[in-house]
Symmetry: C2
Subunit: 325 residues, 2 copies
Amino acid sequence: VNVSDIGEFGLIERLAKAADAERPESLIVGIGDDAAAWRAGDAVVLATTDTLVEGVHFLPGRTPWADLGWKALAVNVSDIAAMGGEPQYALVTLALPPQTPVQAVDQLYEGLLECAREYGVTVAGGDVVRAPQIAITVALLGRADFGAEGSPRLMRRDAARAGYAVAVTGTLGGSAAGLRRLKEGAPPDDPLARAHLRPRPPLALARKAAGAGVPCAIDVSDGLLQDLGHVCEASGLGAAVRAAAVPLSDELRDAYPDDALALACAGGEDYELLLVAALETLEALGTAVTVIGEMMESAERRVRLLDASGEEVRLPAAGWDHLKA
Amino acid sequence: VNVSDIGEFGLIERLAKAADAERPESLIVGIGDDAAAWRAGDAVVLATTDTLVEGVHFLPGRTPWADLGWKALAVNVSDIAAMGGEPQYALVTLALPPQTPVQAVDQLYEGLLECAREYGVTVAGGDVVRAPQIAITVALLGRADFGAEGSPRLMRRDAARAGYAVAVTGTLGGSAAGLRRLKEGAPPDDPLARAHLRPRPPLALARKAAGAGVPCAIDVSDGLLQDLGHVCEASGLGAAVRAAAVPLSDELRDAYPDDALALACAGGEDYELLLVAALETLEALGTAVTVIGEMMESAERRVRLLDASGEEVRLPAAGWDHLKA
């Protein structure tokens, strides 16, 4: 049996099971959410890590270095945002072939530090190693607030309840469409390409949502349906999403009218947020979030995408698994 | 100019310069020490990260998976120990080719969790990504104590003073000798090979040293002379090491009598600790540490290795840089 047979999520589950045997009391959230959380003195520390590998997560030679640096940090900011936390410190590991131009690394740092300034992150350390291809790993640390009742105010995947509404920030599908456009030869300043190369996690809105008491969130990294599926599994519920409610940008509709919905539901890498809470809690967040469905009791623990007549819509692609073919 | 021209340390310095422009008050130690440190509420958080890449840091096909998992965590424990801190939580990123056997990953986790138990570390999260070759990145978080005067009790590279003695824990050169033996075809249970495959950072001794007021330490990862050279640069001093005082194991002397000193001084990956403090402070730590030299005012800020007559000994290899050829 190879890792491609059990996939990314199967592997993570195996590690989670092995590691869970010795869970200390100070650990609040372990493996299986957007970020881990633990108590340190009177603070809650959040920690997450994400890697971009050349040829797997970005196109060699067609991704501007500064954009790569930005994205390597931004995808981690997205994880901290999805927990309702505040990102603070980053450790940056660069794996580089020895023949990489120094100028390229300078540009990469520049984009990464631009993102760090944007989100209030300090680069506090890291590592540089030799490797046959480029990879950037960022470990991002942050903090979470305590609520009035003294418990940490975290948005968790396992905190959805039947009857809660499901909302999403921004528009979806732009990143996958941008990747397609880049592959078709579009320049990096194409508006859809920007969505792919420079994701902008809605951190301020995430902090507002956590402060308003939204108990459950996940970032849209693997694709709307798959990420909401993670919430279903963690919370032991099913979900229904109204296809017509999924927010699409005009650029996406214009560029790929036939595939817009599929790109929005299964494309991934939007780094927007799925928020799950009582409808009035989500509505109080204003027009920045769009309600697209709801959670319900269900033996299946999966997401159904519904058309206007309530029939289930079948999409060609199911989502993104980093190890499966 | 390629990264191989300026090397690992040149690259890290470039990032440090760019990142240092916006250093918040809560940051205690940034880029350039064994681990970063910052205040979080009433706690001091320590953070470090290290990567092992197939073919660069370990021999493909000749490194048992469990040993690889152990070492991936142990090298990070070594960094936290070198700061005088207590390791607590790890994020583990596995980069894997899709055809990797699941059994191999299980064994890797097993070795990693064995090391985690040994050092009281909880694996709290991580990431799994596809890549053309295997790489393991661990980000390790920990904590440090406060001293009586309310400042964090950290052992830093920049805290050496002229007249301080230099000591080292354990024996040196075993890891480099073990790597040579593995390349010569020795089995993984060869005693020197064990030193290479299963380094055991002296965490308890490091905690004791920090508690006893040792102000300055670094782990021996790149090689004794190079690592002590980092202390010289950071502290603005020179150092002298008595070659005859460098502790060598009997296995090392027996296996490579002619190269034992060179392996101990420049081999690297021993994951022992260099401790720099007043002589009586080091002597109070007992027989577990060996005094090998001292720090001094010097315009050169480098390490001199001296023979019995005080003449400088020249070694063939100068140390280890991950990017230089």
